[in-house]
């Protein structure tokens, strides 16, 4: 039996899907209204899944008193109420990384994978209640 723990966090941020690799008309064709030059926003919900042995002394895989601040400083403080294209270094214009939620999964996974107290298995993001994206270490070469 394998045991994992999943914690959900929330942040709100704006983004614009647009790449200089494509022409304006191509951007419009690919991204549609998501390419509106002024950007738009979402209430993101992020599920962070960690696994590992249950510590018999605490009954826990990872103490939330340690996981929560780890996510708070690396994700929520960096992303909440921000414009992802301009204010998150991974999406800076010179990086040419479009802040789709696919790419956001990879960025968040990279920011959290150093969590020292348990193994990071998965990051799942709901961009809206209808759209979700997830990255699992074993299934993604970039994880």
């Amino acid at each position: 039996m394998k045991v994992s723990l999943t914690r959900r966090y929330r942040f709100a941020a704006s983004h614009r899907l647009h790449t200089p690799r494509l022409s304006e008309s191509e951007n419009q064709r690919v991204y549609g209204k998501c390419s509106n030059p002024y950007g738009h926003g979402h209430n993101y919900s992020v599920e962070v899944t960690v696994s590992g042995p249950i510590d018999p002394a605490t009954g826990m895989i990872a103490n939330l008193a340690q996981l929560d601040p780890y996510v708070e400083t690396r994700i929520l403080e960096a992303f909440d109420q921000k414009y992802l294209n301009e204010q998150v270094p991974e999406f800076a214009p010179e990086k040419s990384l479009v802040p789709t939620t696919e790419n956001l999964c990879r960025v968040i996974f990279q920011r959290l994978k150093g969590f020292p107290l348990a193994h990071l298995d998965r990051v799942r993001i709901e961009e809206t209640s209808n759209n979700s994206f997830e990255i699992e270490e074993s299934l993604d070469a970039a994880a």
Partner: protein, 144 residues
């Protein structure tokens, strides 16, 4: 292979305390969950069974049968109970979501005789859940 999932809910009280640690250490480790008067949650349990549908009934496992198993093994044992005092199988353990989910997995495993127990997911709140899966499961993370 098909997966089927049944959801049940139960409400229970618990608190976290390790008698091997000082009161200060307990408070540091467990915070407000260390309150000796306890507190409670509405737990949501999702149990997933995987298997081939029976050619005659079209079912992996009759969900009615699974419902009865969950009633006997989980609801009768834990609903409206204090997990620290009233569930003998948790004696000597901190009744965290991890330990409760692992206990439920162990209780259900011998009771599932058609299909295979694939996943036990226990929500302590909408923002916190634990998954137990078979070690050889194709669930690498927490999700089907």
């Amino acid at each position: 292979m098909i997966r089927i999932t049944r959801k049940v809910e139960f409400s229970a009280a618990h608190f976290y305390h390790n008698p091997n640690f000082s009161p200060e250490e307990n408070l540091r480790l467990f915070g407000k969950c260390n309150n000796p008067h306890g507190h409670g949650h509405n737990y949501t349990l999702e149990v997933t069974i995987a298997g081939e549908p029976d050619p005659t009934t079209g079912m992996v496992l009759d969900l009615k049968e699974l419902k009865e198993i969950l009633q006997t093994e989980v609801i009768d044992r834990m609903d409206h109970r204090h997990l620290n005092y009233e569930v003998p199988e948790l004696a000597g353990q901190i009744p965290t979501c991890e330990n409760i989910a692992a206990l439920i997995w162990k209780l259900l495993l011998p009771r599932i005789t058609r299909g295979q127990l694939d996943r036990v997911r226990l929500y302590e709140s909408p923002d916190l859940f634990v998954d137990c899966t078979a070690s050889n499961s194709n669930h690498n993370g927490a999700r089907a």
